[in-house]
Amino acid sequence: MTKLNEMTIVEAARALRARECSVRELWDACAAAAHEKNPELHAYLEIFEADDAAIESAQKRIDTEGESAQLLCGIPLAIKDNILIEGKIASAASKMLENYRATYDATVIKKLKEAGALFLGRTNMDEFAMGSSTEHSAFGPTKNPHDISRVPGGSSGGSAAAVAAHLCIAALGSDTGGSVRQPAAHCGIVGLKPTYGAVSRYGLIAMGSSLDQIGPLAKSITDARIIHDAISGKDALDSTTIPNGLYGVHKISKHLRIGVPYHLLGEGVDKDVLAAFDTVLDKLTQAGHEIIEIKLPMSTTALAAYYVIMPAEVSTNLARLDGMRYGHAARGETLLDDYINSRTEGFGEETRRRILLGTFVLSSGYIDAYYYKADTARAVLRREYEKAFESCDVIAFPTTPSPAFKFGDKNDPLSMYLEDIFTVTANLTGMPAISVPMGTVEREGKQLPVGIHITAPHQAENSLFTAGSALQ
């Protein structure tokens, strides 16, 4: 039998209902693995004590409701450190919020609690979700379970490593420019960024409000779907959430037309990553799906537009952290000193860099040249995608140009930003996208996972699950 902590949600739910294990045994197996491996991997910033009442209540539900109990009942999950759980610290891996204790549950947490899910701990990330490696965490980086000399990706790197190393059954992350999908690809698991507005961000520490979405990191497509179904839906507490069917009903055909923008896959993508991609496309063709060549010319400037829009929103969202009401509070001579000291001591280097960049692109004299131009490029990109979807159901390319890199390899900011080159488009267009494992490539004798990235039109998550299932 598979070890309890190595199970998927579906396997664990079945084992719980078949009385092959209890909720307590499942929790203990995950917690033991987390305590054993965390000193090496640093996936968790904190592993929670067992919540006896929640464990007993989940067991009772499974005992009384049996097959009709929700699949997530009794399942231990890991939660990214920027999602609020009442009474627990939510630091966003920043010194600024090191001692900040959440005063309420995020909507996604409320929904998961109602489903009977359990929370194992809060996972490491890049500070305020800014980065692609967890190297920007104020509390030290997470290591990739496939090779501990390499990064797990980021910013949801702690969640990805925890799932890949079986230190939990599944996890939640947040995705602003690829922060769920890129670490999922680097750790060999499934990561979903839902449609903008599909999942409530109430209780998510905001980064880029026109881009952020909460998404699952899981061991299978089905698991990602189970979590997505549990957390999505309209929420009065987040006015950006959308009702079902807002973008029309998508017919899901059994045989998908898969658009591939080959013109983007020339320079900059590793040869063996491309070979893995081709192999997976063959697999999809054999499963009856059709490959179509498409063109998305604005994609080449998407990253530049993203690095204008995102910092603009970051500098706005992080303006609230000033040492007055909560968070790190340093005191100086004047009130202005209080603000400056608190923010300078509280924010790490990358966070300060992006705040400066955001301040710049929004400043008088530059807003036309940068921000409005980027917003226009974003609108054109979205139209290009909508046009492409007239001839295909989903669009596919590799999630990242290369497998996980070594710690310190990308120490200039720009080279780190280029990690997101393929993933940012889905955040800019608001469309859902998933990263699914597509095999491994070898680096220095180690097999490193790589992922295929699939995008669908707004609210067509089901097409992603259909395409993804063909690969598993």
Partner: protein, 97 residues
């Protein structure tokens, strides 16, 4: 080209401090990033013709009390950096010269 003075000015606007020791590094990195995002300038795009009006949706909610009065008061006050009883203190804003 960004200068160290530009970076200092932005830092002042953003209420953060860039130490003198970091200033040159920050300025150089800033320059590299600006030159990358500068590729946007080469695009021949006209906002009026490209940005379609968004699909407008009115977001309504019931006009009632979102939660019981005082339900969160104590929890929020606990996070306050400086507190004496029910007084939450910050530095004096108006200076009496």
């Amino acid at each position: 080209m960004a200068t160290t003075e530009d970076v200092k000015k932005l830092a002042a606007l953003a209420r953060i401090r860039v130490e003198d020791t970091e200033l040159e590094k920050f300025t150089n990195e800033f320059d590299a990033i600006l030159s990358y995002i500068g590729q946007l300038e080469t695009l021949d795009l006209h906002p009026a013709s490209c940005i379609l009006p968004p699909v407008l949706r009115n977001v309504m909610r019931v006009d009632g009390e979102p939660h019981q009065a005082h339900a969160y008061t104590e929890k929020l006050a606990e996070q306050f950096p400086s507190r004496e009883g029910d007084a939450l203190s910050v530095k004096q804003i108006i200076q009496h010269d």
